[in-house]
């Protein structure tokens, strides 16, 4: 059972992503957070409880209260204290090369995915996770 966190304020996109993940038939549990702050609060509280932490984070950039960039800045600091290997993917509707470039300055970012994310890419990420997780 894989755990996935979707950090995105767009309910339609979250709904569609859930459907795509479901269609991959990988057994998983999905948690939603509508902004960076809610997700960060959770991760910070649960940082030592590996069983409650995700394997994969899909992070949107444009969100209220705490956007994706602000989240990354905090997450970068929190990461060393998190007792689990987490793969973080930016999932954004942005096609700006500057933002892609900016994401490379964060080593915690595994990849920058531009919406819409293809089903194949999700499968790849899910299976990748399956292999590396004992």
């Amino acid at each position: 059972m894989k755990s996935i966190f979707l950090i995105d304020d767009d309910p339609i996109f979250v709904y569609l992503t859930r459907r795509i993940i479901a269609s991959t038939n990988c057994p998983c549990e999905i948690n939603e957070f509508t902004d960076g702050e809610l997700a960060l609060d959770y991760l910070s509280k649960m940082r030592e409880k590996a069983e409650l932490l995700p394997d994969v984070i899909f992070l949107d950039l444009s969100m209220p209260v705490m956007d994706g960039w602000e989240f990354l800045k905090e997450y970068d600091l929190l990461k060393p204290n998190i007792k689990k290997e987490i793969s973080l993917y930016i999932v954004s509707s942005s096609i700006s090369p500057q933002e892609v470039e900016r994401s490379k300055s964060y080593t915690v970012v595994a990849d920058f995915l531009i919406k819409p994310v293809e089903r194949g890419k999700i499968v790849e990420i899910m299976t990748g996770v399956s292999e590396t997780t004992p």
Partner: protein, 403 residues
């Protein structure tokens, strides 16, 4: 120069005397003296006609020479020879600080042994700021001793004004560029996001064979399309504000403007039992495009209502005050407030939302800022989280006295 010529003439005279050829030499001496006078006049004429101010100092910063470019009145020019700036300041009953700063420059040139340059600005009797580029450099005699320090200044006011214009232009261009980047970001995030949703929904509809599911998915298209529509309209409107430089200004009565806003928000005001007070006694009329002013006040008051503190009756105060020639309009509330330490940079940016509110889209303040800045004004905010916010708008030089 004078001294030098004088000394030369004296030396020549004594030389002639020493040879003691008496009378026979007299016409010669007169000729030389005349020649020297002509040369003196020639050089002085050049120095006096140069459109530059020139001053020559001895090694103790006493004046040896000034040209009319530096001191136009002959009487003053005569007085200053052999004096320094302190004595001159007393003589002319002027501020001594100029003498201080000039002495500092003189010492800098004398100590360093090199040319120094600086710019100084002063205000002329007509109130115009005149800027000079000044240089000062030491001159040494054949023995290597400091013989004089020469200073001169060129009026660079025109160049300075040009530079300021260019700087203003560069600032304007950077502002335009920042807006362009904002615009790209909004196109990328706020327009592309709903388009992606639409295309994904259509993919699912196409892939589905179940009519009931298809219907459900089609139902999800509606809010996405509405959102796209709204975003698109907001964008077009903000571009129109920026481009509509000819927009008509009118005398707008703030009381009437306020009434429109209150009427428009009446349902919400009643629902929250909000109290709105106004004080336009300082300034009651502003010359502004009425649709902008209506929109600005509506946006700020509606924000105060939208981001009220739960369980606290909204108290909103709208007032004007004078700030020199300008008018400041402020809207204060006792609402949620904003953490400005966190959000300062993004405050008025497009698509930025600071609260978890279903109707927060991040357009209102961006639009307000656009409408304020397009007319040469500025907007800023003060806020304490959980206590409230005050938005200030300074309207540039558009004061109209209430009668």
């Amino acid at each position: 120069m004078n001294r030098f010529i004088h000394r030369l003439a004296t030396r020549l005279r004594s030389k002639k005397k020493g040879v003691s050829k008496s009378n026979a030499d007299e016409p010669d001496l007169k000729l030389i003296s005349e020649q020297l006078d002509r040369q003196k006049a020639f050089y002085e004429n050049i120095l006096n006609k140069l459109p530059t101010d020139i001053a020559v100092f001895d090694s103790e910063h006493r004046y040896l020479f000034v040209n009319p470019g530096a001191i136009s009145k002959e009487e003053y020019r005569k007085y200053i020879i052999g004096k320094d700036d302190y004595e001159y300041a007393v003589y002319r009953n002027r501020d001594i600080s100029v003498a201080h700063s000039r002495r500092a420059k003189f010492l800098e040139a004398r100590e360093s042994g090199k040319e120094i340059r600086w710019e100084d600005s002063l205000t002329d009797p007509h109130g115009n700021v005149i800027t000079h580029m000044r240089r000062m450099f030491p001159v040494y005699d054949e023995k290597g001793e400091l013989s004089q320090v020469i200073g001169f200044g060129i009026d660079i006011t025109d160049r300075k004004i040009m530079e300021e214009k260019q700087a203003a232009l560069v600032k304007q261009l950077s502002a335009n560029n920042a807006q362009l980047i904002d615009f790209c970001s909004i196109v990328s995030h706020n327009l592309r996001a709903p388009l992606v949703n639409i295309s994904m929904l259509v993919d699912f509809i196409e892939a589905s064979a179940d009519p009931a599911e298809q219907k459900m998915l089609i139902g999800k298209l509606r809010p996405v399309i509405d959102n796209l529509h709204a975003t698109f309209n907001e964008l077009v409107e903000s571009i129109q504000v920026r481009q509509d430089l000819e927009v008509q200004r009118e005398q707008v009565c703030l009381e009437a403007c306020m009434k429109r806003t209150v009427d428009g928000l009446q349902t919400e005001i009643n629902r929250l039992d909000a109290h709105i007070e106004t004080d336009f006694s300082a300034v009651s009329v502003i010359e502004y495009p009425p649709q902008y002013l209506n929109s600005i006040i509506h946006n700020l008051v509606s924000n105060s209502l939208k981001y009220h503190y739960p369980g606290r009756k909204p108290l909103i105060s709208v007032r004007t005050e004078k700030a020199g020639d300008n008018v400041i309009l402020s809207v204060s509330d006792n609402g949620l407030g904003i953490d400005l330490v966190k959000h300062k940079e993004n405050f008025f940016k497009i698509g930025k939302v600071f609260h978890r509110h279903p109707n927060a889209k991040g357009f209102g303040l961006y639009m307000t800022k656009t409408q304020v800045e397009a007319m040469g004004g500025r907007i800023w905010v003060e806020s304490v989280p959980n206590e409230g916010s005050v938005f200030f708008i300074e309207f540039a030089n558009r004061i109209k006295q209430a009668s």
